[in-house]
């Protein structure tokens, strides 16, 4: 759906050249929800704006649905943009127009005749659940409702691609969830490709199929969300995952453990698990078969696209031999182990 080849964007200011994107290549498949995560200033905003040429790339090509978007003339670009919807963090609704007329706006731009256009607006209002708000103005809506209007507006001309520029960053967690659910529904109903940028790992976790981690103008890592979550390869990915994965305060537990030393041999370990093993009673079978006690000090289970993952901090108590055998047993069952103390 989108092929980005060697995309570079340099901003020339009077004092210096700022490299916003450095030789970025990326491939986004039709029908997927693709997330780009990065801190502010990493270049994600520039990247998404290059895809509809709101920012002109300095170098490189961007092929959207077989068409090199960087090689179009003005009129061709206007037409291409009508087939690429975009939603924004600040919603960007026209305050001079009612909700109905805001959704009508892209249809006017595309010169859709009034009758079919009005019918289309009615459909879109129903899709986003705002039929009763048709006649009111944006100032009267909540943030979540405004973003729904933004989504309806972006879908008006039946786009093949939807770009989402931090669309939930100005919303509270509950509203964020409902907007993300709407995006996911639209994605599956219309087979619409969605490219979103965010700094919030929760957004990636909740809706994305694949994710690219962008840092310092480079794409550091690309992969499906689950594999990045289970096996982040770069410090940037790791720190994003840490923002939502509560791993427990290791120091606190290691201190506690020293206080309750009982003379017996003990080890403090972190067990990370992902996928099916989270559902199996491995810990209890370890206790039964290996003559160790397990003291659970901390536990956390989360889901990424319906696959459970999580981590436990365990104190294993026994003899040196039984404890090391127990740890081997856990590893043999596909769990990852980190010895904390």
């Amino acid at each position: 759906m989108i092929e980005i080849h060697n995309l570079t964007k340099i901003y020339h200011t009077t004092h210096q050249d700022i490299v916003a994107l450095d030789n970025v290549s990326l491939s986004i498949k039709r029908g997927e929800i693709f997330g780009i995560i990065g801190l502010s200033g990493a270049g994600k905003s520039t990247l998404i704006r290059c895809i509809n040429m709101l920012e002109k790339p300095t170098q490189g090509s961007i092929i959207v649905d077989g068409q090199d978007i960087t090689a179009l003339n003005k009129n061709e670009l206007h037409l291409a943009r009508q087939k690429i919807g975009m939603i924004f963090q600040q919603f960007n609704l026209l305050s001079s127009r009612s909700i109905f007329d805001n959704i009508m706006f892209p249809l006017e731009i595309a010169h859709v005749p009034t009758q079919p256009a009005r019918q289309r607006v009615e459909e879109l209002l129903e899709m986003v659940g705002l039929t009763d708000k048709a006649r009111v103005y944006p100032d009267q809506l909540s943030g979540g409702q405004k973003q729904r209007v933004g989504i309806a507006r972006a879908l008006a001309n039946d786009p093949k691609l939807l770009l989402s520029d931090e669309a939930t960053s100005a919303l509270d967690p509950q509203t964020t969830r409902s907007i993300l659910k709407l995006l996911k529904d639209i994605n599956s109903q219309l087979n619409l490709t969605i490219l979103l940028i965010t700094h919030d790992m929760n957004v990636i976790k909740q809706v994305c199929d694949r994710v690219a981690v962008i840092n310092d103008s480079h794409i550091e890592e690309v992969g499906d969300v689950l594999s990045i979550f289970s096996n982040p390869r770069t410090p940037t990915s790791q720190s994003f995952i840490n923002t939502i994965m509560n791993k427990g305060d290791t120091e606190e537990y290691t201190q506690n453990i020293t206080k309750q030393q009982t003379g017996k041999y003990s080890r403090l370990i972190r067990v990370s698990f992902i996928g099916s093993s989270a559902g199996e009673p491995i810990i209890s079978s370890m206790i039964r078969t290996h003559d160790v006690d397990a003291n659970i000090l901390y536990g956390n289970i989360d889901r990424v696209k319906d696959v459970p993952f999580g981590n436990l901090i365990l104190e294993l108590i026994g003899t040196e031999e039984t404890v090391s055998l127990a740890m081997a047993y856990l590893m043999n069952n596909g769990l990852e182990i980190e010895v904390l103390k």
Binding site: K74, H78, N92
Partner: protein, 234 residues
Amino acid sequence: MIEYILATTANTFWVENSWIAEKVLMATWETLYMVVISTFLSYVFGLPLGVILVTTSDGHVLESKGFNRVLGAIINAARSIPFIIFLILVIPFTRLVVGTPIGTVASMVPLTLAAIPFVARLVENSLKEIEWGLIEAALSMGANAWQIVSKVLIPEATPSIILGMAITTINLVGYSAMAGIVGGGGLGTLAYYYGYQRYEDLVMWITVIVLIVFVQGVQTLGDKMVANTINKRR
């Protein structure tokens, strides 16, 4: 003067001075249409100029740095000439257009010409207040420059443009009085001929009061219109 007023009864005072009412009414009417038509004409030319100033600026939809700089310089030059000098400077042009430099119709030429660059800057300010995100959203939908001007910039800036019109009208009331001194007609001519040259203080004071009422009226009307557009949206 004071003895004169004391010596006459109220009745005879008004009978003897009824010509004043007639003159003031006539002059007020002249000022009104001079100012209203000049304001209208100055927007016919000044509004597009303001739009061009904004859209050709750096990073905007019709970016054209050189053109923008030249246009800006011309507008600044026109605005730096004091109106009283401008009035004399454009006499040959006025004669060309109207046939005579004297009278209310002739006054509209310098009034309009002086207001155009002022209006262009006011409109520029109004349009610059619009958040870039709105323009970006329209661009992302495939809008061309004309659609952005007609469907985003002007409608979104309407309340601010209306307030600018009130300011322009009020400024032109002041300018029209200056034009009146060199034979432009309206309240300015009245105050100058009768109030200044013939020592008819009463005429001068009535003129002042009419002007105050006029300016208040224009501002109130402008504020009302803005309040109405904004209330509709809330």
